[in-house]
Symmetry: C2
């Protein structure tokens, strides 16, 4: 029987009662497979509380010390959960990131896992014990504590599953799977039974907050079957994230929305080699994340180039480009904020040329203007006015479901 990795997030372990609820899932799996490794996050608001205490001290914390501080959250959870399991009569043993160790690079607050030493885990599993591992944290090569950044515990879980060659990684959360769109906006959302890693990657980057991109990437690279299921609904079937779907599966997976978008357009850029490169080098040097880029066909002496940035980086991006207009060889930059990006995702898109037309039809029928369009093999995104975003989401969703 293979190893099963289970991951429980902060809301699933928020208090003693919930810790004991989590024990039920663990014990059930243990009684079935005998080899269970559990990854947990910090309890409820623990990390938020530590960060607010940190803000009392400084607005600009040293990142090494910050990681030392916030990593205690998971350390609290692992020891408590091990105690709960022992109280229930099951042998459990906890490990922090440094105890295994989980070796990462040195990028504090956003470290990447380089290697997980699994010897201790394997020994404990062989002895019949349940192993509890702190998510979100690791240790770099000089022995400093690191943290993995947002969604870090998911990443720990899938990376552990990959390192242990586990049969499966079950991500327990407060929703019971991945949906075709946001259930808070769309009434008739459909829970997806299956979704591919690629679709999940697109959905995650589009604001479906179920799984973090990095964990899906690892899942994809090491072909770890991931199950997303509910901590609170017993026998929840959840969503399976896998490599390839059967032929019969839906060609559209979901429709997602991101409200945090501004579009910048640089007008009258000289149509010379290297101009586009210069623009994005400048933005990158200033640590501004650019999302979609659309360039008009460059047949003329000048061209326009549009791209999107996150709303909170708009001002900074505008300022930088305006300060460098002459050097960039551009005429002006204009900005269109209060936009939302609606994206439709599915592996079937590339083989179904009618999808784009259907999207545009749905928007046309609802009199919604598109500010930008971009497409990939498995995704079509359109920018619309933020105030029309929910209507657009619903219109597109209804068109396909």
């Amino acid at each position: 029987m293979g190893i099963i990795v289970q991951k429980f997030g902060g809301s699933s372990v928020a208090d003693t009662e919930k810790l004991y609820n989590v024990c039920k899932h663990i014990i059930k799996e243990y009684n079935r497979s005998q080899s269970v490794v559990v990854v947990v996050s910090a309890q409820g608001k623990t990390t938020d509380k530590l960060i607010s205490e940190e803000k009392e001290i400084t607005e600009n914390p040293d990142l090494r010390e910050h990681d030392c501080l916030v990593s205690v959250g998971e350390q609290i959870t692992i020891s408590k959960l091990a105690m709960c399991l022992k109280e229930k009569g099951y042998n459990a043993v906890s490990y922090t990131g440094w105890q295994l160790p989980i070796i990462t690079d040195s990028v504090h607050c956003g470290a990447r896992i380089k290697y997980i030493e699994t010897e201790k885990i394997k020994k404990q599993l062989e002895a019949g014990n349940i192993v509890i591992v702190a998510g979100f944290q690791g240790i770099n090569e000089i022995g400093d504590i690191t943290t993995l950044g947002r969604g870090g515990s998911d990443t720990t879980a899938v990376a552990l599953a990959a390192s242990l060659k586990a049969d499966r990684c079950d991500i327990y959360t407060d929703v019971d799977g991945v949906y075709s769109s946001d259930p808070r906006i769309i009434e008739n959302v459909k829970k997806l039974d299956l979704v591919t890693y690629d679709e999940m990657l697109e959905l995650a980057s589009l604001g479906a907050k179920v799984l973090h991109n990095r964990c899906v990437e690892i899942g994809k690279n090491y072909e770890v079957p991931i199950n997303v299921k509910s901590t609170f609904i017993d026998e929840s079937e959840g969503t399976r994230v896998i490599n390839n779907k059967d032929l019969e599966s839906l060609y559209i997976t979901g429709v997602a929305k991101d409200d945090n978008i501004s579009r910048l357009t640089i007008i009258g850029l000289e149509n010379k080699i290297g101009r586009t490169y210069k623009v994005f080098k400048l933005l990158s040097e200033n640590k501004i994340n650019v999302d979609t880029i659309v360039q008009s066909a460059g047949e003329h002496a000048v061209k326009d180039i549009s791209f999107t940035v996150k709303t909170n980086e708009t001002k900074k991006a505008l300022k930088i480009i305006n300060e460098n207009l002459i050097e960039l060889g551009a005429k002006e930059v204009i900005c269109c904020d209060k936009l939302s990006k609606i994206s439709i995702v599915g592996v079937g898109i590339v083989n179904n040329p009618g999808v784009a037309a259907k999207v545009f039809e749905a928007l046309y029928e609802n009199n919604i203007n598109m500010h930008m369009i971009s497409t990939s093999e498995i995704k079509i995104s359109v920018l619309v006015n933020k105030k029309e975003a929910n209507l657009a989401l619903k219109a597109i969703h209804d068109k396909f479901y």
Copy 2:
């Protein structure tokens, strides 16, 4: 210039304001000596809170997991304090017990330090940085977190000072030194400028809660000068704990009281070799700590033997002895609880035969009965009724000061 170790307890670092107050002491010493290592406890009630959360889970926690849980308290303090110092413009770097590492034995909740690796600290000091170390915690040889038990942070500080061959270990606390008696009971207590390690050991074991025995032991063994001073009173002179006093010093250091005492007397014990040994072996096997032992001269066929135990262990001790009366060859065991032990401590006692007489005189004048007397080279202890204990303390203190 040599290294200075400073230690700040939980009440000295309880919140952000207090952390910044502690920075003042650190910066002042850093500006003077350039080589400061700081040991801190968990903030205020942090450890108590963790333990009460633990009690929600189980009354009988796994001790390995318990140590993993409670050790987060100091980890929080070290990172916060390092941030505070950075905010003040001083470079500081924090280390947990496992990061140095501080190697201990495997006795969870009461581990003893075997070895402290000081390489990282020395490197940081050479680079001009202030080093912050988590008190109370260490790591055993298989990589599990251990804690040192009560007074653990003091022990960490003095052990570090010994390992670093520091010039001095300053223990900052909420009182401004060691007193000749309990200031809450005696009005005219005298703050001691100097006290020897041996006197401090006796005082600590007698309920003067300023320094824990284990840290004084290490100080004595490695001749680390220890200063006890106030975190909250600037320029507090404090008390110096040293190896030998000048000849002129007071021959009495202090008078202490312990209210947590019961006396058991085993009557009619056969006066044969090995009987006494059997009694205390039995108690030791049952993990009962015996304090003072007094045995009447054994000229007869039977003898009586009295000893004291802590109040909360009285019932257990009585039960065990009663169950084994025949085997022990004794007639009966009687118990006298609600007792207090008053002790007078000073290196001068051995050379001043009048001290004992003065103690007895003070009690006689106040009509206080003594239930047991025991003496050592630097201590005279008497048991009195608990309700007369404060009066006895005052009477003896007044006799000498």
